[in-house]
């Protein structure tokens, strides 16, 4: 009983690591995880290249249409490879997060003084690394295959910046989905639905050459069209501030929306456990 009256020693003051310490740690984990998954990285990089190789010759005759902006279809279609990479970013990010949920990693993290922003930023780091690798690969392969960048080397750098924004935007959608599902297969099954947004855009022809009225209308309202056109402007037109502003604006807008839903999903998940 005496012991009960003895003052407990003061608990040592715990210094929580700041977000700037937490985020890089989680980012490192996310990047290493991406690097260690060649089965995810290789198809995500190769599949758009295969479609590029096929479409660039399969649709080459489309360049003879009056009003087509270039005589090189590979230059025209190169932009689409970047957007396809974005779809793989949705699946990759969402699936990784769903695996974390399924494996209990998330629950264990919640026992630590982790900052929610560090968690979200860390998860997107792998997407960013993959996006950078894919952008460099597509530009290199495109140039080797005969594409040209009208805006030159600075244009290529802006393309990489826009491609990364697009990957992060799509990755944030994956993050928002991954926060809400507990099985990676459920993220996989969303693949065709996300593909719809790609198909119903100006991916294969410029909007002014799309003859079907409803399709042109849908493509006009589809933000994917503006991201494709932003990238394409650097390849074909040179420097087009309006196309670039719309491209960056749509990518950053989707990123903001995706992060908002990811944050609310994270809050719900925290509340549940």
């Amino acid at each position: 009983m005496e012991a009960a009256t003895v003052d407990a020693p003061l608990a040592p003051r715990r210094d929580h690591p700041s977000i700037w310490v937490q985020a890089p740690e989680l980012a490192r984990r996310s990047i290493m995880r991406t690097v260690r998954q060649p089965a995810a990285v290789i198809p995500a990089t190769l599949f758009p290249l295969i479609l590029l190789a096929i479409n660039s010759v399969g649709l080459k005759s489309a360049t003879s249409l009056p009003g087509f902006p270039t005589n090189s279809y590979i230059t025209f279609s190169l932009a689409f490879a970047f957007i396809q990479a974005g779809v793989f970013a949705v699946i990759g990010t969402g699936q990784n997060l769903a695996e974390d949920n399924q494996g209990g990693f998330f629950n264990r993290l919640q026992l630590t003084p982790i900052h929610p922003a560090a968690l979200v930023a860390g998860q997107l780091a792998g997407t960013l690394a993959l996006g950078l690798f894919q952008a460099a690969t597509y530009i290199s392969v495109g140039l080797l295959a005969g594409a040209h960048i009208e805006a030159g080397l600075p244009g290529a750098l802006v393309m990489i910046a826009l491609a990364i924004c697009i990957c992060l935007a799509f990755g944030s959608i994956g993050l928002a989905i991954g926060m809400r599902v507990d099985a990676p297969e459920k993220v996989q099954s969303l693949f065709p639905l996300i593909f719809v947004f790609l198909f119903l855009s100006s991916m294969s022809l410029p909007r002014n050459l799309i003859q079907t009225d409803w399709f042109r209308t849908v493509a006009t309202y589809n933000p994917v069209s503006y991201m494709v056109e932003g990238l394409r402007s650097l390849l074909i037109t040179g420097w087009d501030p309006e196309a670039l502003a719309l491209g960056f604006g749509c990518a950053l807008g989707i990123l903001a929306i995706g992060l908002y839903f990811a944050a609310t999903g994270l809050r719900e998940r925290m509340a549940r456990t």
């Binding site: 089965a39 198809p43 295969i50 479609l51 096929i54 479409n55 660039s56 010759v57 399969g58 649709l59 080459k60 005759s61 489309a62 003879s64 249409l65 459920k186 099954s189 969303l190 693949f191 065709p192 639905l193 593909f195 719809v196 198909f199 119903l200 100006s202 991916m203 294969s204 022809l205 050459l209 799309i210 003859q211 079907t212 409803w214 399709f215 493509a219």
Partner: protein
């Protein structure tokens, strides 16, 4: 024989039940050909104005031939996914133990592949008719077109089964999808063969899907077609994939 059919029917019923009770497994593969159809027929219709593009029924009908082949082939391939899943999680091994004639298992998965493809093709055909599919061919031509689709469906299933039974893991699904996807896209998908450029023009004649797609387009248009030649080519491919599936089954049996 009765027992053989009973095994195939029982397996097919189980797979159909799990597909119908889980829309997330059934709907996305069915929607995929519709998306392709919408995107290509809607977004690329201007391609029909390219000099040298002479297909009288129109671009929607031209693209329908591709989507028909895709629906049929992937109806088979997706059943290969079910085989891989069943073997990965141990159900396939129990099926091997319980079945005296194991080729009945392939028949069971084949029944599901056929039903799956039939549903997808019906939906795609109805949508195509609504948005402007023009059929100039006779009833016999239309029957011939769907008969070709049925053979492609079986070929797709046997190929996927061969892969699934060799690897017995869901990790092998890209090995089922990607080759079929490549074969489909290395055919004249967007424009007739004479308008294809570069290396695709060089490889297209050696691709069985080129001949199937061109024959389906001729059947839709009601123009003369080399139907028997195409039937011969696709039957040869069917025979090859049959051997591939049966040897795959033997490997699965040996692995136990």
């Amino acid at each position: 024989m009765r027992r053989y059919l009973s095994v195939a029917g029982g397996l097919a019923w189980r797979l159909l039940h799990s597909l119908l009770t889980n829309p997330l497994l059934f709907l996305p593969p069915m929607l995929m050909p519709l998306f392709f159809f919408t995107a290509f027929a809607g977004g690329l219709s201007a391609v029909s104005n390219v000099p040298g593009f002479n297909y009288s029924p129109g671009y929607t009908s031209f693209i329908f031939a591709f989507v028909l082949c895709q629906s049929a082939a992937f109806g088979g391939v997706f059943s290969g996914f079910s085989i891989a899943a069943d073997f990965q999680f141990g159900f396939g091994r129990r099926l091997l133990l319980a079945t005296p004639h194991r080729s009945a298992l392939i028949l069971g998965y084949g029944i599901v592949a056929a039903i799956r493809a039939a549903i997808t093709i019906t939906v795609v055909s109805l949508v195509a008719l609504v948005v402007g599919l023009n059929i100039g061919g006779s009833g016999l031509d239309v029957f011939g077109m769907y008969a070709l689709a049925a053979i492609i469906n079986v070929t797709g299933l046997l190929f996927a089964a061969g892969v699934a039974l060799r690897f017995r893991s869901l990790q092998s699904t890209p090995l089922m999808q990607v080759p079929v996807f490549l074969f489909l896209f290395l055919a004249p998908v967007y424009v007739p063969r004479q308008l294809l450029g570069g290396w695709v023009h060089a490889v297209a004649p050696f691709n069985p899907f080129t001949h199937v797609m061109e024959t389906v387009r001729d059947l839709i248009a009601g123009t003369g077609t080399e139907y028997l030649a195409t039937l011969g080519i696709i039957s040869g491919l069917l025979a090859l994939t049959f051997v591939f599936a049966i040897t795959g089954l033997r490997r699965a049996e040996t692995a136990g």
